[in-house]
């Protein structure tokens, strides 16, 4: 019973990848969830943060990336070379890659209930694989055809992942790519990070109303939450920031998360993983943000439990 969460917003630079990493660490460590992070962003920020640059290179060389899986869907590599045998989605994953010292291989709690963190890494050429996919599966007169095809392909991949993960987190790219649309359609929960500025607010409104409700028709997707990030720092414009907060309160209401992330952890010294075999404790990695990130994880864990309970009730109803 996997719960899927999209971390998505139209605007870039609002902290989507960092939020994804924080949530993956909080859920795997504190809630002992088996978490898979799916990096859908060709910028590969979360992949680099979780694997290190060297680790991401090794993943690319060994075809353990979402790009390699997408090549398999089109039957061609991003350079156009034919791919004779299909790859399974599972064979392109990186598992047990947490950089937290609690998950160091020699310390892994090997009980079935213990948490762990895995990654479906992205690479910059994911964009080209996605373009090839869009061209191959576009049907005249139906702009949704690549997205619907991608939705079905992702469903097959998730069927392969059955029993492996409790939570799947999608780190969506800015904008509204085919992969992002299909991932949001699969999601039970959407978390939209935003900064305290007018364009961020505009982007959130547009994403929720035009994107999720309008374009994707997911008006029933009620578990969507706005998360304010990088709320500290920057002087002046206090009146405008207050106005944005009021605007957010009016728009999101109960869909605004109570917890806020005060500043970008990317700016902290120790977030990036220097090497594949380097580990940090949760406290060391997040420094003064540990309590906020734990609270953020708890807020989302509550929502995950609600989704799980709803599914159990739905199964009981259908059985009776």
């Amino acid at each position: 019973m996997t719960v899927k969460i999209a971390i998505a917003n139209l605007k870039g630079g609002v902290g989507k990848s960092t939020t994804t990493m924080m949530l993956a660490d909080a859920l795997s460590l504190h809630a002992e969830r088996k978490v898979l992070v799916v990096d859908l962003d060709p910028q590969a920020n979360v992949s680099q943060m979780m694997l290190s640059f060297e680790g991401l290179q090794q993943s690319t060389r060994s075809s353990r990336t979402i790009t390699a899986w997408m090549e398999s869907l089109t039957g061609r590599t991003v350079t156009g070379a034919p791919l004779p045998d299909p790859r399974t989605a599972t064979s392109t994953l990186r598992t047990h890659i947490s950089g937290l010292s609690d998950f160091r291989p020699s310390m892994v709690r090997r009980t079935p209930s213990a948490g762990e963190c895995s990654l479906w890494p992205s690479t910059p050429d994911l964009r080209f694989a996605e373009l090839a996919f869009d061209h191959l599966f576009f049907q005249a007169g139906d702009i949704a055809s690549p997205r619907n095809r991608m939705y079905a392909d992702l469903a097959l991949a998730f069927a392969e992942f059955q029993g492996l993960f409790d939570v799947i987190l999608f780190d969506c790219p800015p904008g509204f790519s085919t992969l992002a649309q299909a991932a949001i359609m699969h999601s039970d929960i959407v978390v939209s990070p935003l900064n305290v500025d007018r364009v961020s607010m505009w982007s959130l409104k547009s994403f929720w109303t035009q994107g999720i409700d309008g374009y994707l028709g997911l008006t029933a997707l009620k578990r969507r939450f706005a998360l304010l990030t990088m709320v500290q720092g920057g002087r002046g414009a206090e009146a405008e920031k207050l106005s944005v907060r009021r605007d957010l309160q009016d728009f999101a209401r109960e869909h605004r998360l109570g917890v806020e992330i005060p500043h970008s952890v990317q700016a902290l010294r120790f977030v990036r993983r220097p090497a594949t075999d380097s580990f940090q404790s949760f406290r060391h990695k997040y420094g003064p943000l540990v309590d906020r990130i734990r609270q953020f994880g708890e807020a989302i864990e509550d929502q995950i439990k609600n989704v799980e309970m709803e599914r159990i009730h739905a199964e009981q109803r259908s059985a009776s």
């Binding site: 090794q58 060389r61 060994s62 075809s63 045998d85 994953l93 047990h96 090997r110 392969e160 492996l164």
Partner: protein, 194 residues
């Protein structure tokens, strides 16, 4: 969980375990986080020289870096997969015969949550022959696999290692391995394995 049959239905399930849990199982020595695994279903590939029990069901080439070695270490793992009622003394001998070309040989089979008497006997025999024993209470779920016996290391010649990969691994997997080697500076100047 019902017992899975036929044996071939277990292959993709065990392969999922190899792809996702193998590096954290304690079977691979060294730095698991940096380990690179290339797995394949090799049951359908023809065995060049033939011979008795010369074809394992699954195999994995495992590359592991070491801090004070100038190179990565390469090792070949073979997996002989058996159903609940297909495992027995002969299966251990079959897995042992794979140590002719694999550095580590494992026997994998489905068993209930509690080990059966037959499984206990097989595990004892695995220990005696240096064959690894891996059981799964629900083969669909990679977290239900349990290492009962760690396999012993066997020495394999570089040519034997190469021959196995060339003859048994599918073309895409071979290409992936070659690409990975080339990316690490050990390329064969574009020469394609036949």
């Amino acid at each position: 969980m019902p017992f899975v049959t036929p044996e071939s239905a277990l292959y993709p399930m065990v392969l999922r375990w190899v792809d996702t849990q193998f590096i954290a199982s304690g079977l691979i020595e060294g730095r698991a986080q940096s380990t690179v695994v290339f797995s394949a279903n090799v049951s359908q590939q023809s065995a060049g020289e033939g011979g008795l029990w010369s074809r394992p069901d699954l195999a994995a080439v495992v590359y592991t870096p070491a801090r004070f070695l100038p190179n990565w270490q390469a090792e070949l793992y073979s997996f002989e997969v058996k159903t609940f009622d297909g495992v027995g003394q002969t299966a251990v001998y079959e897995a042992f015969s794979h140590t002719r070309f694999a550095n580590y040989s494992l026997l994998v089979w489905q068993d209930g949550p509690e080990l059966s008497r037959n499984s206990e006997l097989v595990i004892d025999l695995c220990r005696e022959y240096g064959v690894g024993a891996l059981t799964a209470s629900d083969p669909r779920i990679p977290h239900s696999y349990k290492v009962q016996v760690k396999p012993q290391h066997f020495t394999v010649s570089p040519t034997g290692f190469d021959s196995f990969v060339i003859e048994r691994f599918p073309a895409t997997k071979r290409r992936e391995i070659e690409n990975w080697l080339a990316g690490n500076g050990w390329g064969r100047n574009g020469e394609e394995l036949q």
